[in-house]
């Protein structure tokens, strides 16, 4: 019996309820990884605009989502420019 490819496995819709719950796990993983990358980007000196460009969203959207969630020890780009 041939082993299904990852794409075939991911596209399996025979049990949509379990499939949707798996998507929730995927979203949780993606959110955790995205937060880590955003924090790493800010630590590396990238701006909110750089991060927004990479993620393909607006600067306002990325700022609204992460400004109050990132590690409080990170020096934000705006604060830097005033220093």
């Amino acid at each position: 019996m041939p082993v299904p490819s990852p794409f075939e496995q991911a596209s399996d819709t025979s049990d949509p309820f379990a499939g949707l719950r798996a998507i929730a796990s995927l979203r949780q993983l993606a959110d955790t990884l995205e937060l880590r990358q955003v924090e790493a980007a800010l630590r590396a000196g990238l701006t909110w605009q750089n991060i927004a460009d990479a993620l393909g969203v607006s600067r306002q959207a990325v700022h609204k989502k992460y400004a109050k969630r990132i590690d409080s020890s990170i020096e934000l780009p705006r604060r830097k420019s005033h220093a």
């Binding site: 490819s5 990852p6 991911a10 309820f17 949780q28 993983l29 959110d31 955790t32 590690d71 409080s72």
Partner: protein
């Protein structure tokens, strides 16, 4: 305890524990998994029922990781779980409940519900996604079994609550610590280990006459200056009496006593925290009656923070 107070105390306790569990993977969202983990270390009926059913924090962490791994595997993704780090003590920046977890908490405080940890567990057992059911199955149990045990435990006559202290400068609380009594005692009786459970302390150095000096974290001292303290540890009774004072403070401060008492409990240790402020004068100021609720709330936060921090330090 009035329902509003119960709801507030339960929410705060679960919020802190869920935040700490989420912080191990650098997450800022408290989901159903973190709510379940928070309940496994709850001091109340819910935590006791879960632990008695084998739903301990270590086993539950493993079951949750395995469930996520399998769910991702069903999408064709073979990814190792994000590695767990240490608990970030006291960093609440940006943490919030997910919509699913908030829904559970709302159902636990709805009309007719008690709002305590048992009500939260009841609501969690009935959460509609099936995630909690799947995790419990991995732990060789099921929502129906836990629900039945919970109903039996809740039906038992409640222990007579200890009369609250008349002293407005004294509060106490109890908490479950998922570690042996010996390991907990080694932590709470050692002055050099204060920084492990006090988020405001950076390091500890010996001071004069048997006292110790706690160097505060950057920016946390304000005008208080370094905190001096002594520890009187009675190992036979498992009671550690900590006394804190601030000799370099620019404003008047009172000595603070924190008494930590341990008792063995199933799958861990029961920790009681008593906090008292010394008052320099017996004369009460005219505004004191109005400020009394404020002092009680402040002390409640202090004893709760000590209890949750000790528990967090021992469950990395």
């Amino acid at each position: 305890m009035p329902k509003l107070t119960t709801v507030f105390a339960t929410s705060h306790r679960l919020w802190v524990a869920a935040m700490e569990e989420a912080s191990r993977r650098g997450g800022k969202d408290g989901g159903l998994d973190h709510l379940l983990l928070a309940l496994t270390i709850d001091e109340g009926t819910a935590g006791q029922v879960l632990r008695a059913s084998g739903v301990t924090i270590d086993r539950t962490r493993e079951a949750i990781a395995a469930q996520h791994r399998d769910q991702l595997g069903s999408l064709g993704l073979d990814v190792a779980p994000v590695a767990d780090g240490p608990i970030a003590l006291g960093d609440a920046t940006g943490f919030d409940w997910t919509e699913q977890a908030r829904g559970v908490l709302n159902r636990a405080t709805a009309v007719g519900e008690t709002g305590d940890s048992a009500a939260v567990l009841r609501a969690l057992l009935n959460e509609p996604s099936g995630f909690v059911t799947a995790v419990l199955h991995r732990l060789d149990t099921a929502p129906e079994i836990i629900g039945e045990l919970l109903a039996q435990a809740v039906a038992l006559p409640a222990p007579t609550p200890t009369a609250p202290s008349d002293d407005p400068f004294h509060r106490s609380t109890t908490a479950f610590v998922p570690a042996t009594t010996d390991a907990t005692w080694a932590l709470i009786s050692d002055p050099r280990r204060l920084a492990e459970w006090d988020a405001l302390t950076e390091s500890v150095t010996p001071g004069a006459a048997g006292a110790w000096i706690a160097t505060p974290q950057d920016g946390s001292a304000g005008d208080l200056g370094p905190q001096h303290f002594t520890v009187d540890a009675d190992e036979s009774r498992r009671v550690a009496h900590w006394t804190f004072w601030w000799p370099a403070s620019k404003r008047r401060t009172n000595r603070r006593h924190v008494i930590l008492t341990l008792e063995p409990a199933a799958s861990g240790t029961s920790l009681r925290v008593d906090a008292t402020w010394e008052t320099a004068s017996t004369r009460r100021r005219w505004w004191f009656p109005a400020a009394r609720p404020f002092f009680r709330a402040l002390l409640w936060f202090q004893v709760t923070r000590v209890a949750t921090s000790v528990s967090a330090a021992l469950r990395e």
